[in-house]
Subunit: 194 residues, 2 copies
Amino acid sequence: MTTETGPRRSDATRAAILEAARVRFAEDGYERATIRAIARDADIDPSMVMRYFGNKERLFAAASEIDLRLPSAGALPTRHIGAVLVGHFLDRWEADDVLNAVLRGGVTHPAGAERIHAIFKEQIGPVVAGVCPDPAEAPTRAALAASQILGMALARYVLKLPPAVDLTRDEVIAWLAPTIQRYLTAERPHIEGA
Amino acid sequence: MTTETGPRRSDATRAAILEAARVRFAEDGYERATIRAIARDADIDPSMVMRYFGNKERLFAAASEIDLRLPSAGALPTRHIGAVLVGHFLDRWEADDVLNAVLRGGVTHPAGAERIHAIFKEQIGPVVAGVCPDPAEAPTRAALAASQILGMALARYVLKLPPAVDLTRDEVIAWLAPTIQRYLTAERPHIEGA
DNA sequence: CAGACTTGCCAACAAGCGTTGACCAACAAC
DNA sequence: GTTGTTGGTCAACGCTTGTTGGCAAGTCTG
């Protein structure tokens, strides 16, 4: 017997809190995104946030939950995986505030860094393992690709460096795709002094 | 007549505060790096921090002051500028905590982002303008290079993604150098839909 | 209608923050 | 040796934070 729970009256409030939390975490980071500010944005009392989410850390965990919806490794055109991935992440980053909340939270709070580790391992790892030549190199190659994608997100959405902000979607793809493609599929470079 | 000011007795304290501040800002970001914690690390009273630096924001400004000491554009082997730059930044990042303090502060506090904008414009811009084919493209190309270098720093020193941490200096250079080289000196890629 | 549960607001708490000003000891100048 | 300046401590301020518990409506169930 499943615990049959119909939609409650409070679901709207819950959602409003989550949405406000995402915006605040994305824009201000963990510490400056105060529960009081989030509650004000959601037009409710701060104590409601506590009732629904227990404490601030659990609120962040809920607000930064995300499924990257990466295409499965099999369904990918390996030759153009770089362009596909860059485009996919750009879209996800601009669709809502979750990725931004995760990124800023990851730099601001230890729990946020943990969350990024988990996403990296559980969602990015497998996809990369499916496309790169030697599975043993997958974590390294995934980290390289992540460094470029996170770096562009940092410059564009967090630091807002003007030239990075001004790039169009197609320009970002055209520049970054070959980089990601190489990190994931090219043969290992010659390492100086190895 | 120059204001002749000999070395004061307080210079040691000043330096201790600055050093402690850099460590804390680098490890905890702007908000969590409290003046009290910094003072405790420097083994002095919190009020001394105020006396010497006025307030927290000015302390951060002083602690995150940095000269990247980038080689001037002329003195660079254009063919290998990618490798030189990556190596240079890796060294600077690991030599002390300033760059880490700047990076984490930039994500944590508006004043930090401003500081990064300034460094980008005043120190990175000119060097890139000296090596890239069309000066008009310099800001864009500089932003692309910055995205990769900042991204690697983020993954390696802030988020501490294991595979990024485990890379040796030479491995990072071997992987990233071609990317930076291309961003700075290769001809513009074909932009889809332009 | 009576009672139980849900949704919400209000007021308050303890703790931690940046910041201030009064006070003390050592040193320098005359 | 007194006097002013410098380097430093101490205790407190006003404020904000996360968090808690009590209380008033509203809503469902019988």
